[in-house]
Symmetry: C2
Subunit: 246 residues, 2 copies
Amino acid sequence: MAMEWLIAEDNPKDRAFLADLLSDRALRLATNGDEAFQIASSLAEPMVITDLQMPKLNGIEFARRLWRHSPQARIVFWSQHKDEMYVRSLAKIIPAETVYGYVLKDNEPTPLRKAIETVFLEGQCWIDPQLRPIQARTQSRNEAINDFEYEVLVDISLGLTDMMIAQRRYLSRRGVQNRLQSLYVKLGIDQERIAGDMGEAINMRARAVAMALQRGLINAYELQEEEHRFKQWLERQDSKASDNRL
Amino acid sequence: MAMEWLIAEDNPKDRAFLADLLSDRALRLATNGDEAFQIASSLAEPMVITDLQMPKLNGIEFARRLWRHSPQARIVFWSQHKDEMYVRSLAKIIPAETVYGYVLKDNEPTPLRKAIETVFLEGQCWIDPQLRPIQARTQSRNEAINDFEYEVLVDISLGLTDMMIAQRRYLSRRGVQNRLQSLYVKLGIDQERIAGDMGEAINMRARAVAMALQRGLINAYELQEEEHRFKQWLERQDSKASDNRL
DNA sequence: TCAGGTACTGTGCATATCCGCAGGTCTTGT
DNA sequence: ACAAGACCTGCGGATATGCACAGTACCTGA
């Protein structure tokens, strides 16, 4: 019985490209994270190629659930993005001794196929060399962004004030500022020397967002996801405020 | 004599994909905007498929120069991005009566080829339907971002203070704030109703950046380009300050 | 046990952001 | 000629941001 490989990819062109490249294998296709999880969890030994940005359940969350369900699953992340946020998220969910891959979409067909076979057939991890410096940064004591710092980065990226963040995260204003200060250090902003003729040159908050964008710690797609989460949180606050009025 | 089509694309996988799709035509290949311009300007009737994000000379600037050199050139922009910043930039450089196309990279091979042929062989414009709402927005009186607003958006996205922007743009601080206010209106932030329990919920500046990211008015790639431009400007300021000291 | 590190809180203060009010200049359309 | 619109400047004031100083609690490693 042929071992089926699953392709989880919402972009029709990319899905077709990959299905064509691997047309000599038995394939299953999924167009979103939910569907991918349904299929993968029904396979004895899941072999999955997955995008990271997908509707319903993104690639990271899909992988986390699958690895909880089937720790021996082999997953190749095939992404446009070498964004640090993904590298960081992955590092937190990968089970010990897991065989996985992270391949960038700018790879041509032959090296792409080779990478996939390395993971699925040879049982070796395959990490795109372009990701090396990014992985290094996620492991550096001075530069790695911890969960508190990441959380407050998301909050300022949404445009929230200190007081709103404090409310959202059950902190004091000063607590928010501590996290921000810590973040600014990790992003290297506290050391920047940019002089203006009159007054300060740099707004720390906005500068942090700029550096984070350039470093791939946030991106427009994920910011939209976070916007959605924030809106849901607001709605929960509103109904709690209504309940308190009764 | 066969009419050559030029493919300008820095991503090797995408370049190969397109060269393969159009392998029955005479093709020239370029890996950056500079090279693309050299080739295209030597063709009698340039037929170009170009990416937007390319080293040395981005797709927009390449097109602007080519259209100045050869106004009859036919250009198909083939991009990952339906970002408003690109739609906006294009609208400002397209010569009257030009035949061009804007195709998103998520199109599968057959519709992609059809779009290219529509532009090159039939002489009709082809705009990806996914871009309709974005084009509408760039033409709406209430939502279209003008050059002043765009400029100050870039500045705050870099993390500059009002006073630094004032210095950079030869304005008063109040002039900067006027532009910002105008921008906030266009982004709809002035109308947002987000209530916090204590104090303001929203930091306008950061919120503007968040909305602009989600709307594709700025993105990480272009922010890096702008970062580079700002650094160059800073260096020029420094040497001017040294000159004044003599 | 003790010291160091991490994460938090409160207070105070200087500066930046945001915005209202008032006024000015220039361009365009009627 | 005049009015409206676009864009600018100065001033004043309320609030937010950023940071210094001081202190607390908890965890971990020696």
